[in-house]
C-alpha cells in the first residue's frame, strides 16, 4: 500500500504560506486514503502557480498548456479509463481561458476530478485580475477596481451538468481530503473548487477572510446535495463562499456511453489486425 511519500516528487516552489501546499498534501492523502498506487493516478494541470502541482505530485503528470488541462485530461481518460485522472489548476486556467473546455467536459460527464485552486487572482503572472476576482477588486490590471462580475463556478457547474460539485478551503485540510476522496470516487465529472489563498498578491481574500466568511454546508444537516434547485439557491445566498459537497447526481460517465465504449482500455488494445480483418476492411471499398 502506497504512503503519502510515494505521492511526492520534488519540493514545490510556491511562496511560503501559499494555499496550494495543502491542496497538494490533501491530494496525496486522498490518494493514499483511497488505496491508490502512484502509477494509477495521472495529474494533469495547466499553467499558473497552481499548475505546477503536476510536477510535484508523485503520480504520472502532464503539465499542459494554459487553460488546456481539461482536453488533455479528457484524452488521457478516454485512452485509458483505468487511470484515475485528476485535472488541477488555477481559476484563470479553468474559468478564464479554459472556461469552454471546463463546461463541455461537465455536460459530457467525463470521469475526471477537476480541482481548481481558486485564489481569485492570476498568481504566476504576478497579481492580475482573474475571472473570479470580486467586482471592484484592485489588481495591477484593474487599478481602479474590476468592472466585471465574477464567474460563479459552482452555480455554473450545477447548471451545466457537473455530476459532482464541491468546494473546499486550503485552511481546512481534513474536509478537503474528504471531499477529494469523494470526488475521486465519484463516477463522472467532479468539480472541486478550492479556496486556496495567494498570500503574495491577494490581500483581500486571505485565509482570515475565508475563515470569516465560509459557510460549511457539510455541517448543515438540513442541506441535501442531491436537490439541484436548493443547491443553487443556497450557493447564491452565500455568494458562493461555502465549502462542502454542494451537488451530486448519478449519471453514466462519457466513456461508458460514448460511441465505441468498451471494457478494454484503449492502451491495451492489440493493434495488429489479422490479414483477413484488414482485407475485409479494404473490401468495403469494392462497391
Amino acid at each position: 500500500m502506497a504512503k503519502v511519500i510515494d505521492f511526492k516528487y520534488d519540493k514545490p516552489t510556491w511562496c511560503p504560506g501559499c494555499g496550494d501546499y495543502t491542496v497538494l498534501a490533501a491530494m496525496q492523502q486522498a490518494c493514499v486514503g483511497l488505496g491508490l498506487e502512484p502509477e494509477q493516478v495521472c495529474c494533469v494541470s495547466g499553467i499558473g502557480c497552481a499548475g505546477k502541482i503536476a510536477q510535484h505530485f508523485g503520480g504520472y503528470g502532464f503539465h499542459s498548456l494554459h487553460g488546456r488541462s481539461i482536453p488533455t485530461a479528457t484524452g488521457i481518460k478516454l485512452a485509458n479509463q483505468e487511470l484515475v485522472v485528476i485535472a488541477a489548476g488555477g481559476d484563470g486556467d479553468g474559468y478564464g481561458i479554459g472556461l469552454g473546455h471546463s463546461l463541455h467536459a461537465m455536460r459530457r460527464n467525463i470521469d475526471i476530478t477537476y480541482i481548481v485552486m481558486d485564489n481569485h487572482i492570476y498568481g504566476l503572472t504576478t497579481g492580475k485580475l482573474s475571472p473570479n476576482s470580486q467586482k471592484g477588486f484592485k489588481t495591477k490590471t484593474s487599478p481602479k477596481g474590476s468592472a466585471e462580475d465574477p464567474i460563479r463556478p459552482v452555480e455554473m457547474a450545477i447548471v451545466t451538468g457537473s455530476s459532482f460539485v464541491a468546494q473546499a478551503f486550503s485552511g481546512n485540510v481534513k474536509q478537503m481530503v474528504s471531499i477529494f476522496e469523494q470526488g475521486i470516487k465519484h463516477k463522472g465529472f467532479s468539480l472541486i473548487n478550492v479556496f486556496s489563498p495567494c498570500v503574495t498578491f491577494n490581500k483581500v481574500n486571505t485565509y482570515d477572510w475565508f475563515k470569516e466568511h465560509i459557510v460549511n454546508m457539510d455541517e448543515d444537516e438540513s442541506f441535501d446535495p442531491t436537490n439541484r434547485m436548493d443547491a443553487l439557491r443556497r450557493v447564491h445566498e452565500v455568494e458562493s463562499v461555502c465549502t462542502g459537497v454542494i451537488y451530486r447526481e448519478e449519471r453514466p460517465a462519457f466513456h461508458e456511453t460514448m460511441l465505441g465504449a468498451s471494457e478494454t482500455a484503449g492502451v491495451h488494445l492489440d493493434l495488429d489486425l489479422a490479414e483477413e480483418e484488414m482485407q475485409s476492411l479494404i473490401d468495403q471499398f469494392r462497391r
Binding site: 498548456l65 484524452g75 478516454l78 465505441g260 469494392r286
Partner: protein
C-alpha cells in the same frame, strides 16, 4: 527514393470528333444542377456502377458553401486504364438547369453532348457545335410520382448515351436502396429505364463508345482520399480520433465513426479544434495512437498545441485537408496553401514532419508512415491533404497490405522499469539519438511529468542554460536520421533540361503534362511527398543540371518554390505556375505555360 507513379496510361488524349458513335479510350461525363437536387447521387450511381463493371473512374465534386441552391456538379472520367484526374475536357454534360450549361460549357469538347431537362429552354452561345438532347427529366420523374428521382432519369439517359447495359445499374440501385423498401427500388429502376428509353427513342444516333471494360474478378476499390486517410489511420493502429467538423475534412470523421469503434477505438466530436488537438495529445501520451483531422481554420487554432506536442515529445498526427484560404476563405474549394503554416507554424522551434500525400493511394500509405514516424520520433506529424484529394473518388487497383507495419518506436517495457525499480523514469533522458524511451501512464516505476515548459529529464521545469541547450539539441537530433527523400518520386531522364516540380495532389495533372511534353522536351517530373524536413539532398541531385524548373502549386505565393529556393538555391531557374482560383490544375494550365 522510389518511383511510385504509374500513371503512364493517363496522359491526355484528344478524341476524334465523329458524329454518331464516338470512339473513346476514355470519356468524361458530368451532371450539374442546384445543390439539393440529387446531383451527387446521380454521379455516385454512375461512378459506382462503372467501377463495378471494371472501368477505372475518377470523380470530382464541385459544390458550394450553402445547403440548397447554388451550382453543384459531379464529373466522372471513365477509362480502361487507371486515372487520377478528372480531365481537362468534357464530353457529356447532364444539365438540370441553364446555369449548369453556362458554368460548364467552356470545358466541353466540340463533339460534346448535353442532356438537359426539357422543363427549361437550353441556350447555347452562337456557333457552339455542342449537341443538345432535351429529355423530360422532371416530366418522367413527376409521372413516376417523385420529382427528386429526375436524377435517376438522368442516369438512365446517360447510360444510353454511353451505350452501357442497364442491369448493373439496377443492381447498384437495389443494393443502395435495399433497406428503404421495394417500392422505392422499383421506382428508381423505372426512372432509369425510362430515361434510357427516351434517349434511345429520340436521340438514337447520339452515342459514345467506351473502351472495353477491363476484365476484373472483383471491383476495384472505389475510394476518396479522405476515406483512404481513415482506412490508413485505422490499419496504422489509430484508436482515438478527436475532431471538430469542418469541410473538407469531415469524411475522415465519418469513416472512422463507422469503422473505428468496431476495433475498440474512440471518437470525440470536440468543442473546438484546440480541444480536439489536445485531446489527441492526451491520448497519445496515455499510449493510444491518436490523431485529429481538420482543415485550415481548425489547423490555425492548433498552433499552440503543436508546440505542446513538440516540447513534451508526445507523438501526434494532424491531418489538414486544405481548402481555399485565408480565414474562412473558400470552404468548398481546393488549395495547397497551408504548407507554410505546417512547416513554420507555432511559436518557438521544435522538430516536426510534414507529409504531403500525392495520390489517393498515398493518403492510405502515408497515414501508416505518419503514425510510425510520430511514435518513432515522438513529435508531431502533419499530413497535408487537400479538398481535391480528399473528396475526389477514384478506382484504386489495390492496396499493398504488406506496407501496413506498426512501429511504436522507443517504448520502455515494464520489465525494464521493474529492473530499474525507481520511483521516477527519466523520460527526457538526453540520448545520443535524441530519442528517449517513454513509459505509458499506469506502468509502475515509470512516473514522469510531461511538460510544456522546458524541463529536465524527469519533467521538472528548468530555466538554466545548460539544461535548456541539452534538451533543445536532443529534440532536434531526433530528425537527424529521418530521410524525407523516401517521400520523393521522380520520373524522367537523369539530366533533364526542364523539371516539373509539384507536391501533394497535383501529381496526376503534372504526370499527364509530363507525358505530353516528353516528346518535345528533355523533361522530368519530380513530385514531393514530404515538405518538411525538406528532402534537400534528393531534390538537389535531380535538379543539379537542370536549366529550368517549373514549380506547380495550388496557391498564390509559391510556397514550395520558396522552400526550394531556401533549401536548394537555384533562385533564378525557378518559375512558379500558380493557381488559386479554387479549382485544381488542368493539364493545359501546365503545358501552356511550359510551352511558353
Amino acid at each position: 527514393m522510389q518511383f511510385c507513379l504509374d500513371t503512364a496510361g493517363t496522359y491526355y488524349l484528344r478524341n476524334s470528333i465523329v458524329r454518331g458513335v464516338h470512339m473513346n479510350k476514355q470519356l468524361t461525363w458530368k451532371v450539374g444542377g442546384a445543390q439539393g437536387e440529387g446531383i451527387d447521387s446521380t454521379g455516385e450511381i454512375l461512378a459506382t456502377t462503372l467501377n463495378r463493371i471494371g472501368y477505372y473512374i475518377f470523380a470530382y465534386r464541385h459544390f458550394m458553401s450553402l445547403i440548397k441552391g447554388g451550382h453543384t456538379n459531379y464529373k466522372i472520367r471513365i477509362s480502361s486504364e487507371p486515372v487520377r484526374y478528372h480531365g481537362d475536357d468534357l464530353q457529356v454534360l447532364v444539365a438540370f438547369d441553364q446555369l449548369s450549361i453556362n458554368e460548364n460549357l467552356r470545358e466541353m469538347n466540340a463533339d460534346g453532348v448535353i442532356i438537359y431537362d426539357d422543363k427549361f429552354q437550353a441556350e447555347l452561345p452562337e456557333g457552339s457545335a455542342v449537341r443538345l438532347c432535351p429529355v423530360p427529366l422532371t416530366g418522367i420523374a413527376k409521372e413516376l410520382g417523385n420529382v427528386i428521382i429526375k436524377n435517376m432519369v438522368a442516369a438512365g439517359a446517360s447510360c444510353r448515351l454511353l451505350n452501357l447495359e442497364l442491369q448493373p445499374f439496377f443492381e447498384v440501385v437495389e443494393e443502395k436502396f435495399g433497406s428503404k423498401g421495394k417500392d422505392l427500388i422499383e421506382r428508381n429502376i423505372k426512372a432509369i429505364q425510362q430515361g434510357y428509353d427516351y434517349m434511345k427513342e429520340h436521340f438514337a444516333d447520339e452515342m459514345f463508345q467506351l473502351p472495353t471494360a477491363p476484365q476484373v474478378d472483383r471491383p476495384h476499390l472505389l475510394m476518396t482520399g479522405n476515406e483512404a486517410v481513415g482506412l490508413g489511420a485505422l490499419l496504422a493502429g489509430c484508436r482515438f480520433l478527436a475532431a471538430y467538423p469542418i469541410t473538407p475534412a469531415t469524411e475522415i470523421l465519418y469513416w472512422l465513426l463507422e469503422n473505428m469503434p468496431n476495433y475498440g477505438g474512440k471518437i470525440v466530436q470536440a468543442e473546438d479544434e484546440i480541444a480536439a488537438c489536445i485531446m489527441a495529445i492526451g491520448a497519445n501520451y496515455a499510449g493510444v495512437r491518436a490523431m485529429t483531422s481538420t482543415s485550415g481554420p481548425g489547423f490555425s487554432l492548433m498552433m499552440e498545441a503543436l508546440g505542446l506536442a513538440g516540447i513534451s515529445e508526445t507523438p501526434l498526427v494532424i491531418v489538414d485537408v486544405m481548402r481555399g484560404g485565408p480565414s474562412t476563405g473558400l470552404p468548398t474549394k481546393t488549395e495547397q496553401s497551408d504548407i507554410n503554416q505546417a512547416t513554420y507554424g507555432s511559436h518557438g522551434e521544435m522538430p516536426r514532419i510534414v507529409l504531403a500525400p500525392t495520390t489517393i493511394e498515398e493518403c492510405f500509405y502515408y497515414m501508416i508512415d505518419a503514425f510510425n514516424l510520430a511514435e518513432r520520433y515522438q513529435c508531431p506529424v502533419i499530413v497535408t491533404s487537400d479538398l481535391y484529394l480528399g473528396m475526389s473518388k477514384q478506382s484504386v487497383d489495390d492496396l499493398d497490405m504488406s506496407r501496413v507495419v506498426i512501429d511504436r518506436g522507443a517504448v520502455v517495457t515494464q520489465e525494464e522499469l521493474d529492473q530499474r525499480g525507481q520511483k521516477t523514469y527519466p523520460r527526457y533522458a538526453v540520448t545520443e539519438s535524441g530519442i528517449s524511451p517513454r513509459p505509458f501512464p499506469g506502468m509502475p516505476h515509470g512516473r514522469f511529468c510531461a511538460l510544456s515548459n522546458e524541463h529536465d529529464d524527469t519533467g521538472l521545469e528548468i530555466e538554466d542554460t545548460d539544461g535548456r541547450v541539452a534538451q533543445m539539441d536532443k529534440r532536434f537530433r531526433k530528425l537527424d536520421t529521418f530521410n524525407g527523400g523516401e517521400h520523393v518520386s521522380y520520373k524522367g531522364p537523369e539530366q533533364p533540361d526542364v523539371v516539373l516540380v509539384g507536391f501533394g495532389s497535383t501529381t496526376a495533372q503534372i504526370a499527364e503534362a509530363f507525358a505530353e511534353l516528353s516528346s518535345t522536351y528533355s523533361i522530368g517530373h519530380l513530385q514531393i511527398g514530404c515538405v518538411y524536413p525538406f528532402p534537400t539532398e534528393a531534390v538537389r541531385k535531380i535538379l543539379a543540371h537542370t536549366k529550368q524548373i517549373f514549380v506547380i502549386e495550388n496557391n498564390k505565393t509559391g510556397q514550395l518554390a520558396q522552400m526550394l529556393q531556401q533549401n536548394v538555391g537555384m533562385v533564378d531557374k525557378v518559375e512558379a505556375i500558380l493557381k488559386y482560383n479554387g479549382n485544381p490544375f488542368t493539364v493545359r494550365d501546365i503545358t501552356t505555360t511550359v510551352r511558353g
